[in-house]
Amino acid sequence: MKEQMPVYLRLTVLMLLMVTATFTAYSQNEELAPVSRAYVIRNANIIQAPGRKIDKGAILIRNGIIQSVGNTVNIPADAIIIEADSLYVYAGFIDGLSNTGVPKPKDENQDKKVKDPGNPPNNIAGIEPHRDVRNLLDPADKSIPDMRAIGFTAAHTVPHGRMLPGQGAIILLAGNSPDELVYKGPVSMFSQLHGAAGIYPNTVMGVMAKYRELYRQADQAKSYQKRYIQDASGMERPKSDRVLEAFYPVIDRSMPVAFKAEKVLDIQRVFSLKNELGFNLILGEVKEGWDITDKIKTSGAKVFLSLDLPELKEEKKAKADSGKVEEKEKRKTEVDLERERLELRKEEMIRKFYTQPALFASEGIIHGFSTLEAKSKDIKNHLSKLVENGLSEDAALAALTTSPAQLLGLSATMGSIDNGKLANLVISDKPYFNKESKVKYVFVDGRKFELEDKPKKKHSDEEDVEVSGTWSYTTETPQGAGTGNIVITGEPGNYSGTITGSFSGDENVLTNITVDGKELSFSFSMNVGGDTLNIDVSVTVDGNTFEGSMTAGVHGSFPIEGERLPNK
């Protein structure tokens, strides 16, 4: 090991140099100051807010503020004019809960051995509510231009992590330093029901118990501190505890808890905690809320629906005589009928995801959108599909602008195109929710970003991805979270590999490794308490990450995601 250190160090230095070099080049391009901070966008279709439209109107921006908006505006001599004939202008979108601007940490603490797994240090257990996302922001993170390119100009962003990753902030999606990004300091205590791998709290039961305990301990510490401040003489000094202190504003209800809760059961678990402990709640990344709209309403939670949606098949245009054709087909077997029934149920389930925002709108639940799990390249398409599935364009726009502004307390400065608000704008060539539309300009805080048309790649048969390397993965099973490594060697068509896991500690050989386009699948068996368990894994590879599911026979199917580790 020691002999290798210098090589490793040299490599690190080299890589650091390369990163800095590209970063400098990039920021210089960005930093070319515009000749003026005044802009006029004219002859545009302006959608000031849902339901408020100006045909052929103009907007004057100066110093990052909307100075004037109307059919005509006075054009100052120093203004840069944008001829926006036939373009559509909307208020910049606001992301209700995201990791935008926060780089994903590399396999956090994965290899750290804990002496007593029942009592791990807080940072390894994922209990870091005192972390401030402002200290974790990277203005060069790719997520910022990616999200901006589809119209997002502000985001409620939170740290990555497990149970209590830290405090969220409101950021603007443009800036050269973390402080330039920040619009508003800590605004939420981010929480998740995610356990730590192999250490306490590992399961959802452990997380909820720990959450209750920390909250009540904080409550206790807070009132002791209050007594101490009143009359310290003769009293034991209160212990300094940054984890518990981070709960104080939550207990005061001056800061809400932003809880990620995707599934219908997780949402209700969060409600249980809220009801028992009494905090104000922002409910983020909601995926399955359609059956519990009443509970959501009574909770008073501020709701952000996830833009990570399951894949919806494009509807095939049925031929008029399809019925006859079907009759001619050979008789369906039991298996065919079974498959049809299962496909139908799956389709109906998928449809629930796409009709959910419309349902929430019709039930009067004010909601925005969140993107913790969503991929930026899918979001615009998903928004169009939500509109196709019954969400009105006005309601969709509200969920991207006025509603998140209201829910996050930003209405005074964001959410609509009105005098005095921040100059956050999205300009598209067709109505935004039209599938064919392209974003032409985005203004963030009065800074103009012009988006170039990327020629669409004609993809015929997708090429098979290269999967060799060492991948670290995480999975959530009823037995808790699991982690480990997958090593794949060899060449396309002739792969071999192994998998290790925190469940057994054994190394298992992979079989049936196949790659089809971006789809990677393989199987392995492991020994559990004397029984052999066959596990099938099927994931979609996207560059150096993958996401998919792991099926363990009758034990069901669990999500798995992974990341390719850099070659050492």
Binding site: D116, P117, G118, N119, G198, I199, Y200, P201, N202, T203, V204, M205, G206, M208, A209, K210, R212, E213, R216, Q217, Q220, Y224, G234, M235, E236, V264, L265, Q268, R269, S272, E288, D291, I292, D294, K295, P310, G323, E334, V335, E338, R339, E340, R341, L342, E343, L344, R345, K346, E348, M349, I350, F353, P478, Q479, G480, G529, G530, S538, S549, S557
Partner: protein, 451 residues
């Protein structure tokens, strides 16, 4: 067109998010196995608003309510499983030898199709337990099998006493001693974990008492003991508010835990599995501890070799309240067969055998005043069988929970999942290519088994 018809059918299968439903129903003319009051021939049972309101002959149903004709059928109390892990998203918080603070009630999954499968075997209540990885595991939840909801609160049995899982022997020593090289590494260590934990809880209680006695005194400057959810829970065990359900096999350890409980004044104790219970049956009876056993399952690990199918009968004849449990999403569907085995091995009477899956598990869960027998005033939880439930030819026909029909064999759908998986890869072959491995000696005889 056909496709649409199926679509509409599925729409009918809508998910109810409702409060705990109570139904009114008349079950007519069945052979009623009351368990606590003998067998009543040609008798009606009227359930009104979820409660058994009348047992007798010639009863009439209130207007608009449903009637089931149980002529020639057997009507028994809903079956109760005192040891199960169905309807749970998490079973073991296996990271610490003591996790009294965790609670399976937080991990309830009312959408688990196992609930429906259990209903199809006449089971109306199960004990959703924490696993046995830890010496002191988590608290458990007693659930009623009300299927068709996404709301975990709907399946909780309101008012059922709190219970907690303990574990002896190989599991906790393997997980913590073997896996993490911490206490407990031996059976002695497991005892030490219990004694240490209860002693800490006693100190915790005492510290709070002292604090509470002084905090309102003038000039009080003291600090309250730090809130500790684990010790709070252990203190509740010492106060008698939580029933211990302990995973156990060996007689020496079973005896050990009774000694520990005696030393700490704990009286509510149920042993689970308790395969060597027959060796300490008089001692269990003297303590008042109860036993929940398998009918005939053992030898799956070293400490479970010394076993007998007569265990349940021996325990019963020694005066130990004994139940037969499943610990499995499969076994739970035929607990009536499991109970029947006590007649083959031990010659128990029908009532004794049926008590193993009704009133006895109810006693072990502290819910015997509400369920476990057919008595006026008890919950309307009922299972109706064609042929006697202890017969090998028995067939579950209806299962009723709180007067609501939750399983009806005549309208039993194939796909009873509440939510389909929107991201699953549908692989029908998985379910249809069993023929190679399947026992083929019964092929083409299926028609004999259709009713």
């Amino acid at each position: 067109m056909k496709k649409y018809t199926i679509g509409f059918l599925l729409f009918l299968f809508a998910v109810a998010v409702n409060a705990q439903q109570k139904g009114t129903i008349l079950v007519k003319n069945g052979t009623v196995l009351t368990i606590t009051n003998g067998t009543l021939e040609n008798t009606d049972v009227l359930i009104k608003d979820g409660v058994i309101s009348k047992i007798g002959k010639g009863l009439s149903a209130p207007k608009g309510s449903k009637t089931i004709d149980a002529s020639g059928m057997f009507v028994m109390p809903g079956i109760i499983d005192a040891h199960s892990h169905i309807a749970l998203d998490a079973v073991n918080e296996a990271t610490s030898p003591v996790t009294a603070e965790v609670w399976t009630g937080d991990a309830l999954n009312p959408m688990d199709v196992s609930i429906y499968r259990a209903l199809a075997g006449g089971v109306t209540i199960s004990h959703a337990m924490h696993g046995s990885a830890n010496a002191i595991g988590g608290q458990c939840e007693t659930i009623k099998h009300r299927y068709g909801t996404v709301d975990p609160d709907v399946i909780r049995m309101q008012g059922a006493p709190r219970t907690i899982k303990f574990a002896l022997g190989e599991n906790p020593t393997r997980v913590h001693g073997g896996g993490n090289r911490i206490l407990p590494r031996t059976r002695m260590g497991v005892e030490a974990v219990f004694r240490n934990s209860f002693s800490e809880a006693q100190e915790y209680m005492k510290a709070w008492e002292v604090y509470k006695a002084n905090k309102d005194k003038k000039g009080f400057k003291g600090v309250a003991p730090e809130y500790d959810l684990r010790l709070e829970t252990l203190a509740d065990i010492l106060r008698g508010e939580i029933i211990i359900h302990c995973h156990s096999y060996r007689a020496d350890e079973i005896y050990m835990l009774m000694q520990v409980c005696r030393d700490f004044g704990i009286k509510r104790l149920v042993f689970q599995h308790v395969n060597e219970g027959f060796k300490v049956a008089p001692e269990l009876a003297e303590f008042g501890a109860m036993a929940s056993v398998f009918s005939d399952w053992w030898a799956y690990k070293f400490e479970v070799y010394y076993s007998t199918a007569y265990n349940a009968a021996i325990l019963t004849e020694n005066g130990v309240v004994t139940s037969i449990n499943s610990d499995s999403g499969e076994l739970i569907r035929h607990l009536y067969h499991e109970a029947g085995k006590t007649q083959k091995y031990g010659g128990l009477s029908d009532d004794q055998a049926l008590a193993m899956i009704t009133i006895n598990p109810a006693k072990q869960l502290g819910i015997e005043k509400r369920v476990g027998s057919i008595e006026e005033g008890k919950d309307g939880d009922i299972a109706i069988f064609k042929n006697h439930p202890l017969s090998i030819y028995t067939i579950p026909m209806y299962t009723i929970v709180d007067g609501v029909v939750e399983f009806d064999r005549q309208t039993d759908e194939d796909d009873m999942r509440i939510y389909a998986d929107a991201r699953e890869t549908i692989d029908v072959t998985l379910h249809s290519t069993v023929s190679h491995s399947e026992d083929r000696c019964m092929q083409n005889t299926e028609f004999l088994f259709r009713d």
